[in-house]
Amino acid sequence: MAELKLTDIRKSFGSLEVLHGIDLEIRGGEFVVFVGPSGCGKSTLLRLIAGLEDISGGTLEFDGQVVNHKSPAERGIAMVFQSYALYPHMTVYDNMAFGMKLGGGGKAEIEKRVRQAAEILQITPYLDRLPKQLSGGQRQRVAIGRAIVRDPRVFLFDEPLSNLDAALRVQTRIEIARLKERMADTTMIYVTHDQVEAMTLADRIVVLRAGYVEQVGTPMELYHTPANLFVAQFIGSPSMNIVAARATRDGEALVVEPEGGRRMYLPGAGKVVGDGPIQFGVRPEDLTISGEGQPVFEGLVTLVERLGESQLVYVERPGSDEPLVAKLPGHLEVERGARIELSANPDVVRLFDADGKAVAL
């Protein structure tokens, strides 16, 4: 159980700064996910925490102790890599025992712990094999087992599922979720570019972009109240629809008129937003076919993706080349080429100012 505190953490490679002052506190036993597009600095941040890269600026504390200059071995961590990084010259058993042999544990104790971890991960039948005789999914489980055996204070994962095929990815994700329950006292930091993994695993998510933290929060906080356009579009699949709009104050209410859409009346929002251009955001799952409500958008259906229980309907509006995406119940009859009217509940609509910052409604 270790608490981590990052204060103004910076990292440069030569003259190129890739992390620009990260402030973050991670509670003991928390499962934190770093998520962001490829190249945003997730792995670098994780490697700084692991001690695999030198920290260029700022301080990193474990349980109140500065560890900037401690080697990875002294930090009490264990890390799982995307490429497994199993030792090819050692059996599965020896791979898993590696971390404990260093600690000088007794043979019996080592054996007990290795077998226990192997049971949890269902790799007992493979203990005598070499890594090259295992499938990708089995290898990744060995890598996770190797880290479990070490019983680290902080468990680090760098895209552990990215090399697996879709089915194995889901299965292994569930296994990691179980592991999180089982090792509830161990602080875990997990890096991924996949927002579904982030949403399903995290206690808290840290959204990174280009070396900056965009937002920190629980999965549902990020989903419901994204701090800015980037987070709004990154979290949730398919992405939130964003449409340029004009806002006009009408007493305490706000009248929002999206481009190519109809006016929408937001009671109370006039207190926080002034007149002017604004970005209007609505999630695909928050759009409904107008029957009762007032329609906001109308357009031509250009594509329908049927997923079974739901369908993704792409709607082209006059004067815009970005289609709107609506996630509608699967039983509705929607045909390509049809005209459609969509409405949205004012409560779920998000507004963003000219800089892309969310407006608190």
Binding site: A50, G51, L52, S71, P72, A73, G76, I77, A78, M79, F81, S83, A85, L86, Y87, P88, H89, F98, G99, L102, G103, L130, P131, K132, A143, R146, A147, R150, L156
Partner: protein
């Protein structure tokens, strides 16, 4: 068994074996270190070190031998120091032949080891250190076992190269029968006297056998590498 070689010829063969073995064993630790540094570290002078290591490969051997004479000769600045402080003399001794052979074989050894180090995924070493292993321990338990085939292959190649070294050796330590006359020097000397053809023939056969054996051995080790590191 000794019948088919004269004592002088035996001396030459035995000296060559000893010179090559000593040259290989003594340069091995430095060879591993230099190979590791070149493969894994970025530092000022990286290119210079790389060039220096490879220089004997492209320099005329006689030039290498002459430079050795200048530096490691009894009046040379290193040779004088070693002689004065440790009584260690290289010029015109078998130790000098070993030194010359080591330097000539060094690029081959470093190359072979460096290639296997570069084939080791740095993530393996990173994983070991995040699992609690100190740097020397990572090297001993992960890196070293994985590059062992490269070390063996490099040593075999270096040994074979040392067995055949001629130009730098004869320049640096001359060709004194029983003292510094290695197999190649002996072959050369025998070619200068009438009626030496039979002896030359015998030594040539030995040279070919040793060289061929070394090549086969390093090939075989190369295949071991592929089997051991491959696909994991």
């Amino acid at each position: 068994m000794t019948d088919w070689l004269t004592p002088e010829e035996w001396q030459a063969v035995a000296l060559s074996l000893r010179v090559s073995l000593v040259a290989t064993l003594f340069s091995l630790p430095l060879g591993i270190f230099v190979a590791y540094a070149l493969a894994r570290w970025r530092f000022p002078g990286h290119g210079l070190l790389n060039g220096l290591v490879h220089l004997p490969l492209v320099l005329p051997p006689v030039v290498t031998g002459y430079l050795l004479l200048l530096t490691f000769g009894r009046t040379g600045w290193i040779g004088g120091f070693l002689d004065g402080w440790f009584g260690l003399v290289f010029a015109f001794r078998w130790t000098g032949a070993a030194l010359a052979a080591a330097i000539m074989a060094f690029p081959l050894m470093v190359r072979a080891i460096r290639l296997t180090i570069e084939a080791v995924d740095p993530k393996l070493e990173a994983a070991a250190s995040t699992l609690g292993a100190s740097r020397p321990w990572v090297f001993a338990t992960i890196t070293l076992p994985l590059i062992l085939p490269g070390i063996l292959a490099g040593s075999v190649l270096a040994f074979a190269k040392a067995m055949g070294e001629f130009g730098a050796t004869i320049t640096f330590v001359s060709s004194i029968p029983g003292q510094t006359q290695t197999m190649p020097s002996a072959i050369y000397a025998l070619l200068q006297v009438p009626g030496g053809e039979a002896a030359v023939g015998r030594l040539v056969v030995i040279a070919v056998v040793i060289a061929m054996g070394a090549l086969l051995l390093s090939e075989w080790i190369g295949r071991m590498v592929a089997r051991r590191v491959g696909g994991a």
